[in-house]
Symmetry: D2
Subunit: 243 residues, 4 copies
């Protein structure tokens, strides 16, 4: 990745402290494993729920080009004020990558405008994530599919707006399908939802999963231009008098 | 329109009581003029801000197939509880047609997830609304464009998600363009944003504007099927034991 | 279906004459079975490859609101002149429903502009077709999924443009997924691609499959408005002299 | 632009030889002016209609990451075989930027599947190209709009499929609007249609127009991954015997 993109990896970081199995898989927390997989030459910042302002101060967010979000059991503990702050930054151009159970985070629901609900099942089943948009930059270097031997199942209907671009669709052993890689633009911000990553599986060590996340960071990086001017506007052409 | 669709027309209904010019154009209120133009054979209900529960009780909404929304000066007076109620009904299938300044209503912003801001100007300028999707049911019976001799200008950038289908684009005398007819689906509900209709102009008496609204009602009518089942799901296929 | 829509069901009608198994499943041809399942009160016309002009004369097409297309082994035998004729009618508003192996028909490839290739396998495997757009009129009356006990597999990547609306996604027993219900608009014509229907299985007797096709007919019916005017255009506003 | 992208600029190059006014504006041909504006550090190749194989040999195309196309008066002189070659390369990942009157080129029509017709007028009128997708990489560094003092008018309806992403919309002095910046993906190839550039105006010297084209080159550059495998596929999972 030739661009220097500043990435902040946000993790709820609660499962790792209370669940032995998760702590074993991610001893330094899921955020650390996700951060290790990033290819960017920019600054990488780690932020977690239990820090002051959840680690997402104005300064941190203003310095962030792309924010990665993993949350699950404590969506309700994220303060509304911080959600507003992130929302505002996304509309102004910050990229956002929402992982797995982040589908039910306040920020994702606020940006989507829908319920964001889905079917789920924890049964150690096989997932095969198929590429349906083979020219998309988010699947650069990715094979026809990514196979994960064990994952939590997420199934349709997934209550999101139709993605602007659908890149990946999952097959699950138990019989379901899921739109697993979904691109959205909201305001000036680009958003990528990426399904895999239940806390009890080593999914974020998978090189293909890491490659997708790195590609998504690159895709979601902000453009350099002014935020649009809104409100009362002077005419650019002469308007005829009417009577 | 052969289908029997129950439509509720919601109007803020404040300008008409305080502004003589508006009262002259819409002596019975904008909602009455909008309702007169509807072609449906179903029940038409009128509802306004200053009624109890803004006229949008559970019963009224449950009986509504498509809700039309006009608001402008008092978006903040709409109770959050009623906004939640409408939002929930849209996700469950009720159609929603948002008119003109309704772009800044709580319900539209909540469904879009973006700021919904735009440029505007009140200068009695000409608007020409061009059809860019000529096979769409919302422009059934409509000419190449609709010309309005005087309207308020709305200009890009319009801060909405990319519409699922873009049907109409406006040209303004003062030099701007605007995406004026935009289709969205959120949950099971279909949403149509239609730009024209500033309160000081007789726009809702225009037969082509009325035709677009009637077509949109038909397009947005709910399908008859169960709301999706979400949450924990039993497998449909046998999942292999792994170790 | 309250509208009176004229439907022409086109079938290659070769397998049924040469393959005993197919003849047993569809003794009157697949077109007859498809036609039986339609709910329209309009005129239904049957047309097949070996008729003069493939049964698709100017008159037949001009009288057709929606054309259903099933072809497989003899795509190359369809005359280019007839393909042009159908293409022209679609751009002018005729709906087109392309079934199963019709993905490789000349008319579908011409309308899509891509290769339209895919993976396939004949292995009597289970298909489960999931609804991913639950408010779409094409899934009116349809459950969460349609299960077909035995079908041919079609797998991604399916080389089509991103559909304007994606409605159905298939899960296959052998491990693949497929975008099975895809909506497109081309010119004034609406096109629906629907995956199931290999000739050796009784798929077109399935009530849910028939319901989807009937819904698609309704969705694809033409609007009533003039074909757009193209070419040299007079100005609608005065253009300033420049020097 | 930090990436090294090989760009081939193709120009019909006939107007410049026969029309004095055009020769004055573009003494080295439009392709040379377009090439001068490119920011890429990769190889730039010029190719024109009257060269052997129109300058688009297998070798040239195989070495091309992004092809830029300007044609107008001689679309019919482009050999079908070369069109097939370009088409094949686009599906396999080569980017394609189609400029102005290239809307009616064989390659664009083949990729779109529609008529690609539009309204037009040569009246030296002002064009204002508005950004409607402000976070898109193609408008990186671009202001709210690009103003061109004199251009040919193109007006809606523009007979193309709905773009995957709509980035720019033009306002014209004479009263029309036009979707001027349209993104499509076909196979693995990304396509950008960009409206301005009539041969009698110095449009391709405009820094903002050049910036859009340079951004589009970057956006349309191919990903590095294998072309999908199509055809008969072995099952990835065990399929149950049925009877």
């Amino acid at each position: 990745m030739s661009q220097s993109i500043n990435v902040t990896v946000w993790n709820e970081y609660r499962h790792e402290k209370t669940n032995e199995k998760v702590a074993e898989v991610y001893p330094q927390g899921m955020h650390t494993a996700i951060a290790e997989g990033l290819e960017t030459t920019g600054k990488i910042t780690l932020a977690t729920l239990d820090e002051a302002e959840h680690g997402l101060t104005e300064q941190v967010l203003n310095d962030t080009d792309v924010l990665i979000w993993w949350g699950h059991m404590a969506h309700g503990d994220v303060q509304d004020e911080i959600v507003e702050r992130v929302h505002d930054r996304v509309l102004k151009g910050m990229g956002l990558i929402v992982l797995h159970s982040g589908h039910f985070s306040k920020i994702f629901k606020k940006l989507m405008g829908t319920g964001c609900d889905l079917k789920w099942r924890e049964a150690n089943e096989k997932e095969r994530i198929w590429v349906v948009n083979p020219g998309h930059p988010i699947v650069d270097g990715i094979g026809e599919y990514i196979e994960l031997p064990q994952e939590e199942m997420y199934g349709e209907h997934f209550d999101i707006p139709q993605p602007d671009e659908l890149v990946l669709v999952s097959w699950f052993e138990g019989g379901e399908v899921f739109r697993s890689g979904c691109c959205f633009t909201r305001g000036m911000g680009k958003i990528f939802y990426f399904r895999p990553g239940h806390e009890t599986y080593p999914t974020y060590y998978n090189p293909q999963v890491r490659k997708v996340i790195s590609n998504a960071v690159k895709w979601a990086a902000p453009v350099k231009r002014d935020y649009p001017a809104y409100g009362n506007a002077q005419p650019l052409e002469v308007i005829k008098e009417k009577n």
